[in-house]
């Protein structure tokens, strides 16, 4: 089964330092100058040296291992990328890119002096260089450059797939800008690096300085066939409950509506409770929905703003009108970037833990490895009739987790409530007890002592106790569904109504945080390498050793030392 690599959008770490791809020829050691892999090869010959004191910004960095050595120039093709245009440069350039593109890095650079363009009479100029050495696969790159004229767009320069690219750039401004963008053309590794290069073509060498603002990249190996086909947030259900007579109305004052169903006097209220006129049975619920401002319907329209319609209970017109609304809506809370803090394994599980607080649901833990370096979003799909909600947690718009809950607060005016009350009232009434209103009943019952109840009952017969008890039960039940589902929902409504991401990050020791350990014990690796290509601390995991002239004891000692770690 072949292995390929799934790209995460954040660019990749790592480069094969001695192989710069097809379009750059590394000058032999005898012609190298400056520092390469930590080795200083000396200064350029005087004949091409020039006045480097005028270019402190290009001073070599002692100990740096990833500076470009001296490179021969080789032209690559020129391609313009019109979709990049229209973006004005600034200190932190932002470009709009195609769907399969990622902004890789950017930088700005102050040119020290116009006289620096010429050294020893040779034409000298600055170029941005994007190096994508051997091992980079399935990506192409573009560089956008511009001077200080911020009214002009960044200008795409040369481009080539899988290779180094650099464009001649003779500035007339005192400051350059560059933005690098890479396109994902498939699956592959990415090893790009951005540099500012002082180019002296007649001397065939460059001075280079690595650009700022190019985050480390990484990739994930995925076995072919196992590549997750991540779903996005689905469409809302396409169901019209109006077909079965269910109607949903939004907001407004329902005082007239209450009058319509309960009447305006005591007699009619009791009549509606115990008689045949029971319009409240047609009320499925009165709920509070907390996200009216950001709720949308299937297709993307706003959930609010439906056409006004008369409220019918069965075939009985209440004479009250209200805006209708859909049963299902989508609530997109937006997203937040989960950024890497350490650029090492500490950014992932088990060191870093990511939790999401979901309103009306609670805190849920999400897989750190799935969301790190991505944009974590939360979208609710709500059923405003039942209160059911599906909370979609997304990473770069891919759904990685779904949680269920309920996001409505039910106002105690439901069919169930009414049914319980009606049954209790009917029982009590059959025993000859009368009362003014349901509210008055509640008051009376709650203040009654057991003795009072018996006295009430004794006046009208033995059946009264059970009848009053039924009323109490009905009221107790009413309390229990004063919110929809359970009290936790009310807590959710009264608490945080927006999702919050909690990232538990480790606090490493200074040595771990600064990666200063690497000089003593190296960086963790799992690579097949030629030892001759390495320098610095190296610990071997497996080797088949054979050296002419070495005894078996010599070989055993060498292998033991390599597996303990040596300095190459």
């Amino acid at each position: 089964m072949a292995t390929f690599y799934r790209y995460f959008g954040e660019p990749v770490k790592g480069a094969t330092s001695n192989n710069w791809g097809d379009h750059i020829n590394v000058i032999p050691t005898s012609e190298k100058y400056g520092i390469w892999d930590g080795v200083r090869y000396g200064d350029p010959p005087a004949s091409i040296q020039g006045d480097w004191s005028a270019h402190p910004e290009f001073a070599f960095v002692e100990g740096a291992t990833d500076l470009i050595p001296y490179l021969r120039q080789q032209r690559v093709g020129t391609q313009l990328m019109p979709e990049m245009w229209g973006n004005k440069p600034n200190d932190t350039p932002v470009v709009s890119v195609a769907a399969n593109a990622f902004r890789f890095g950017y930088d700005s650079f102050n040119v020290p002096s116009p006289t620096a363009y010429y050294i020893d009479g040779r034409s000298t100029y600055y170029v941005p260089a994007l190096l994508a050495p051997s091992g980079t696969q399935a990506f192409s790159f573009r560089l956008l450059t511009a001077g200080t004229d911020t009214s002009s767009p960044l200008t795409p320069t040369t481009g080539e797939v899988y290779s180094t690219q650099y464009g001649d750039f003779l500035p007339s401004d005192a400051k350059f800008y560059v933005v690098a963008v890479m396109y994902n053309n498939g699956r592959g590794r990415v090893y790009p690096r951005l540099y500012w290069v002082l180019n002296i073509p007649s001397a065939n060498y460059f001075y280079a300085r690595r650009m700022q603002n190019q985050p480390s990249c990484y990739y994930e190996e995925v076995e072919e066939g196992d590549e997750p086909d991540m779903p996005t947030v689905p469409d809302l259900p396409n169901v019209d409950i109006g077909a079965v007579g269910v109607r949903l109305f939004q907001a407004g004052s329902f005082n007239n509506f209450i009058s319509a169903i309960w009447g305006t006097d005591i007699t009619s209220a009791i009549y509606k409770l115990i008689g045949d006129q029971t319009p409240y049975e047609c009320i499925l619920g009165m709920n509070i929905f907390p996200y009216a401002d950001i709720a949308k319907v299937r297709g993307g329209g706003w959930w609010t703003g439906g056409s006004s319609s008369t409220i019918y209970l069965g075939n009985y017109s209440t004479g009250v009108s209200a805006p209708t609304c859909n049963q299902f809506c989508s609530v997109d809370f937006g997203s937040v970037a989960i950024q890497r803090a350490f650029n090492d394994a500490l950014d992932f599980a088990p060191y870093t833990v990511v939790e999401v607080y979901l309103p009306f649901i609670g805190r849920v833990r999400v897989p750190t490895d799935f969301v790190m370096g991505k944009s974590l979003g939360v979208v609710y799909h709500c059923d405003v009739l039942t209160g059911g909600v599906a909370a979609f947690i997304t990473a770069n718009d891919d759904v990685i987790q779904v949680e269920g809950g309920s996001c409505l607060i039910q106002v105690p005016m439901t069919a169930k409530t009414a049914d319980g009350a009606r049954q209790a009232i009917s029982s009590a009434a059959s025993a000859g007890v009368s009362f003014a209103t349901a509210g008055g009943m509640a008051s009376k019952i709650s203040s009654a002592t057991p003795e009072t109840r018996i006295a009430l009952g004794s006046s009208v017969g033995g059946g009264i106790v059970s009848g009053v008890q039924n009323i109490e039960n009905a009221l107790a039940a009413k309390d229990s569904y004063s919110t929809f589902g359970n009290l936790a929902l009310a807590n959710g409504f009264l608490g945080l109504v927006n999702p919050v991401v909690y990232v538990h990050r480790p606090v490493p020791t200074d040595n771990t945080a600064d990666h200063t350990y690497r000089g003593y014990m190296g960086i963790a690796a799992d690579a097949r390498v030629n030892l001759g290509d390495l320098s610095g601390f190296t610990r071997v995991k497996a080797i088949n050793l054979g050296i002419a002239g070495a005894s078996s004891e010599d070989l055993a000692e060498i292998e033991a030392l390599l597996k303990e770690g040596v300095i190459l």
């Binding site: 330092s17 809370f333 927006n498 190296g522 963790a524 690579a527 390498v529 030892l531």
Partner: protein
């Protein structure tokens, strides 16, 4: 035999070592010894005081650490050596391809690999609101009725 004594400040585990202040002396194995090329013991015609200034040697075309020194006469010292296999066979070692699990360069090593070497002290909490807006509440009435 000829022994070249010298000094090195390279760590023992460094494959390539530079030997400085080299000086050549004569010497011989001790009588009755079975000479060893890995841990030879050689009486070198060098005063003890001079021998103490050296810590590295080249003998038989191989490199050796000086493990111990014992004065034999005023002008000779018995020196115990141990072969530095890394420096001696450094060229051969570098021709090998192998699997490595730690490396200095971040071009080869991968900080995202966790082999248990990271040291952390505790954790701290970062709170990231997904949305900080207040929202509009509305009532929803559900009914059954004719349209």
């Amino acid at each position: 035999m000829t022994i070249t004594l010298g000094k090195t400040s390279a760590p023992p585990k460094q494959v390539s070592k530079t030997m400085t202040d080299t000086r050549t002396f004569t010497g011989a194995f001790r009588e009755g010894d079975a000479p060893s090329d890995r841990d030879p013991v050689i009486v070198v015609n060098v005063p003890m005081t001079t021998a103490l200034t050296y810590n590295y040697a080249e003998i038989f075309g191989a490199y050796y650490f000086i493990k111990d020194r014992k004065a034999v006469t005023q002008t000779s010292t018995e020196i115990t050596f141990h072969k530095d296999v890394l420096n001696t066979f450094g060229a051969g070692i570098r021709t090998h391809t192998c699997i490595i699990d730690r490396q200095y360069s971040d071009n080869v090593g991968d900080y995202d690999i966790d082999d248990g070497a990271f040291v952390v002290k505790r954790s701290e909490l970062e709170i990231l609101p997904v949305n900080s807006s207040s929202h509009t509440v509305t009532f929803v009435l559900g009914t059954i009725g004719i349209s």
